[in-house]
Every structure is written in C-alpha cells, then in structure tokens.
Symmetry: C4
Subunit: 194 residues, 4 copies
Amino acid sequence: MSKGRLEAFSDGVLAILITIMVLDMKVPQGADVRALRPLLPVVLSYVLSFVFLGIYWNNHHHLLQAVRHVNGRILWANMHLLFWLSLIPFVTGWMGANHFAAWPVALYGAILLCAGCAYFILTRILIAHHGRDSALATAVGRDVKGKISVGCYVMAIPLAFVHAWLACALYVLVAVLWLIPDRRIEQTLTQQHA
Amino acid sequence: MSKGRLEAFSDGVLAILITIMVLDMKVPQGADVRALRPLLPVVLSYVLSFVFLGIYWNNHHHLLQAVRHVNGRILWANMHLLFWLSLIPFVTGWMGANHFAAWPVALYGAILLCAGCAYFILTRILIAHHGRDSALATAVGRDVKGKISVGCYVMAIPLAFVHAWLACALYVLVAVLWLIPDRRIEQTLTQQHA
Amino acid sequence: MSKGRLEAFSDGVLAILITIMVLDMKVPQGADVRALRPLLPVVLSYVLSFVFLGIYWNNHHHLLQAVRHVNGRILWANMHLLFWLSLIPFVTGWMGANHFAAWPVALYGAILLCAGCAYFILTRILIAHHGRDSALATAVGRDVKGKISVGCYVMAIPLAFVHAWLACALYVLVAVLWLIPDRRIEQTLTQQHA
Amino acid sequence: MSKGRLEAFSDGVLAILITIMVLDMKVPQGADVRALRPLLPVVLSYVLSFVFLGIYWNNHHHLLQAVRHVNGRILWANMHLLFWLSLIPFVTGWMGANHFAAWPVALYGAILLCAGCAYFILTRILIAHHGRDSALATAVGRDVKGKISVGCYVMAIPLAFVHAWLACALYVLVAVLWLIPDRRIEQTLTQQHA
C-alpha cells in the first residue's frame, strides 16, 4: 500500500486547520486602530497555534519520508493524530477569547499533550512495522525533543491554575525548541543526557 | 483516463468535511470549565462523524488502490458519494445542538444510509468496468461489512423514535465493526454465513 | 512548465467551493422535522450548485488531460475561471435564502454565464498554445454543449424577472445536458446541426 | 528531501485562503438588487485580494519549479510566507466592511509588505541553498518587480492616512504590474534602470 494518499490527506487536513483558525479573528466593528486592540490575545493565540501546526506538519513530513509502506493500523494511528490536531482551532479560539484564562490555557495544554501522545503512538507503530534497524527507527532515534515537549505539557496543565502565563511560557518554550535548527540542539541535549 | 485527480479531489473534499465540522463547536462565552458542559453532545457527535468520515476515507483509499482506469460514470458515482458525505457536517451539527433528539438522530441514520448505498453503487460500477474476475472484484468480495452496516442504518431510523440512544448505539456498533482490524472479523462473519 | 500544480490548485479550490456551501445550511433551532422545512430552498439550491461545480470539475479534468504544457497566460485564464466559480457559494446562498426570487435567480445565471465564458476563454487559449491540429483541439471539438449552455444562461437572466422558475428550469436543463453520458447526445446534436 | 509535499501543502493553504474570503460576503437580507449595494466594497476588496493571492500562487509555482531540494530552513521560510498570506482574508474583510477607511487600508498594505519581505527571504534562502550560479538564481534574477512592489507598499502605508484611495491605487498598480506578461515589462524596466 502506497503512502501517497496518506500524505495528501494529512496535508489537506493540516492546511485547512492552519487556515480556518483565521475565521476566529472576527472583523472588528470600528475602522479605528483601537478596534484591533481586543483582538490582540486572539492574534497571539493564533500565532502560537500556527507555529505548533507548522511544527507538526514539518515533523510529519520528515517522518513520512522514511516510511516505505503503510497498513490499516498506520492509517488509523495517523487519523488519531489528526483528530487531536483538529481540536486546536477550538481551544485556540477559546483561549484567545478569554485572554489566556486558567481553564482555556490548561485545556490547550491537554490537547497538545494528547496530540503529542498520538504522534508518539504513530512513530511506535511505524517503527514496529518497519523494524528496529530500519532507516525510520534511526531517523526517529530517542526522540528527546518529543519527550521534553510532553514533560512541558504535563507541567503546564496544573501551572495554568497557578499563573496562566507560566503555562503559556512553557508552550512557547516547546515551540522554540522545535524551531531551532535540529542538529545543534539535539547534539547538546544528547551530550547532556550522556 | 488516470485516477490521480479523482483521488486528489476526493481527498480534498473529505479533508475539508472532516475539519469544517469543528466550526460547529462554537467557542463558549465563559472562561470556566462549566462553559464547556453544553458542548458535550456537540463533541460526542463530532467524534462519531470524525470516525465515520475516517472510515469512508480509509475504505475509499483501499478501493481506489485496486482501480486501474476511470470513466465518466465512475467520476459521477464518486461525486454522488461525496454529495451524501457532504451533508454529514450539517446533520452532525443538528444532532449535537439538540442533544440527540429523535428526528436529528433519524436523519443522521438516513444520510449514513444514503452514503452507504452510494458507496455500494460506486463499487458495482467499478467492478462492472474492471470485470468480475479483476483484482478489484476480489478485493471488494461479498462486502459483508457493508451489508451489515446498511442493515443497522435501516433498523436505526425507526428505532430513533422509540429511543434515540438505541439508534446511536447502532451507529457506534457500525463504527466499531469497521475499526476492528479487517481480516479476523471478516473471517468470523464469513464462517457464520457459511 | 508542468501542469501538475495547476491541477492540484484547481482541485483544491473546487473541493473547497463544493464543501463550504454546506456552511450556508445553518443548523435549525428546533429538533422537530418541521424545523427543516424552511431549509428546503437552501437544500435545493445547494444540490443545483453541487451538480454545477461537479460538472466543472469533471470537464476541467477532461480538458487538462489533453494538455501537454502550460504557461503564464494559461495559469491566469484558469484563475479567471476559478474566480467566477468562487462566487457560486455566495449566489447559491442568496438564492436559497430568498426562495428563488427574481434578482437572486438572475444573478445566479449571470455568474454561470461568466463562468461559462471563462471556461470558453480557457479552452481557446489552450488550443492556441497547443495548435489547431492537437489532440486537445480535437477533444474540445465544436463544443456544442458549451454553446447551448451559454445560450440557456442568456435566456434565463431576463426570464428570471418574468417567472423565476422558468429560469431555474433552464439551469436544471443545462445540468441534465452535461450529466447525460457524452457521446449519444453529442452525436444527436451534431446530426441535428448537420 | 523532495519538494512535492511542500508544494502540496502550499497549494492547499493558498487554495483555502483564496476561497474562505468568500465567507466574508454575507448573504444579504433582501431579495432586491439594492440589497447588494452595501456589498460593493466587500466585493472590490475581495477581487483585489483574489488577484494578490493568485499572483503569489503563480510566483510560488514558478519559483518552486527551479528548486531541486529543500531543507528545514526552507520549510520554515515557506511557512513564514504562508503566515502573512493567511492574514489577508482578515484585512480584506476589515477593509471591505469599512469602505476602505484609512487604518484598514494601511494595515492591508502592512500585511502585503510583510508577505513581500517573507517572499524575498524565501528566495534568498533558496538561492543560498542552490548556489549563486544555479538555474534558480538566474530565474529569480534581480527581481525588479519585487523591489518596486515593496517600494509601493512602503509609500502606500502613510498615504492611506492622506487619502486612502491613493494607497488603493498603488495596490492596484502593483497587481497590474504582475499581471502584465512578464518579459516585456521586465525588459523595459531593466533598460530604464540601465
């Protein structure tokens, strides 16, 4: 079974998710620049989610490149990942509309946590299918970044009720971690762990 | 005539349908977790429809893999299937907004029934085009699952007026039937029929 | 220059147009079947536009199959066609919300007329690029159906103000004309003209 | 790393952006032609943004044709471009709803300016990756049009506060500049500069 349509479908869903979030930025009533001020938290949460979905597309792209063939279980593991990502526009909208209040920020972290776990499951199923010595298993490696991200989400959820901005800072940290060019940080982290 | 664009167009439509359903989850007014409670039926109906559209994409993917060439009739049979699937976001929204009341649940079943029939027609036209001895005809086989699904929908529609949750249980049953890895259940069912 | 991305982009735009029309079917307030009755004109206009966009996708698919290479003018002629098609969801919504009143029905015809002309321009530019003896020129032929369609739209626009249902009947006639399997009707029409 | 999915994802995002702008054209209440009059500025701003997004798709298409391989930096430079383009539906809606008032028109120019810079960055990173003597570097050339466009946006933003229509005229000028067949204008401009 070829992976072409799996990529095409995932690209379609991710492209739609990343763009329908714009629909939550309602056109403001006034023509003045002050009419934009209430939109600031909406824009900030949009930027954060845009970057997260961009990271997921990027990683998905890299992951699928090493994939040789797919089966029914892989299709469903991928669909499971897309399900959690599909909830990101909703939590982004809720977080933006409530100026980063505790519950929306915690739920945002919970959805990111579920998506992170779904991505982890997808990589395990792919490696099980391709073998532990495959190029895919080597490419995924020990997935230090993935584990740090999940750790950050787990910390951020309770922190959201102490001070929501601390949780948001953790989300930004995870995003920056993935944006920094791969090799250098991975080497650093691997050395720290060694 | 090649099947590439038929796949691309169907992937596009299915990817959009599966994601625009999220737009029905309106961002709630309050920042409290209690503000999410009225959304529970909306989320449940979203999950159900996400799984159904996922199953259709999955089956469509498998079906098209065995296809060698397409013609005008096949294009329209595919468009007919997409038409019924395109109504799923609407009935999902109606069902979720009305807490699984009788009429919305019955209409949901009716749309699933129409989509199931459209899928059956598509397979027949494809087999007629490729021949009864083609790999496609073998792959589709007796389509026991498809027939059970249609039977469940036919039962669920009147049941929705007796007790709507019975109809919903049947929909979940159909979804589970398709989610269980293919071979085992099919073998079991074939033996039962034999 | 290859035609792959032109097809992919057109597929994407057409897939989105055909599905965002569903968003105009607002979820009704009541859970009763009577709550659906006001939606009837919306559903009817949706079905009509779904078929028209399906016809355009189908024809575009056939047309592009005979294309060998594209240039900047062809990209823009295609974009011009997509522009007029992108207005179909808007006129569909206006027509459905106003129970097929005179002005919306006339505007619907005007948009179809513009899309028909844009399609005609696209075929001319493609033929000019590929040569009058190319497989493409043969495939397009005398385009009898296209000319009849444009004629019907021209008649339908003034007729909408006499009796809107006459105009709608003409739109349905055009749709049926394209849905009937190609060869038979074209042979009949060619013989009538001969 | 292949460029196929980068193209597919960009096509998806651009196709969605160009079509969701139609959702800002709310179906008017009346069935009369006068009900359409308040929509005129919305339609005008839609046409302008449709052309701009069409130009970006067109240029992106040309640019990626000369690309041989991509890396992580290129993926993110492309995502950065898509981010600014994703804000176009929002500013288009704001500009249309406020009849081309000063602030919305200035913000429209600012978003176009950011998108123009993001496109410039993308071309630089691509050229750095492919080498100064690559076919890509030759195809991009001195990018006179790109520089004139950015100059126009920089002028248009303050001009929007003097007279908004002057800024709009500059936007139209840029659009026309890109719509005119490539070679002739580029030769003229190169000679003027020489």
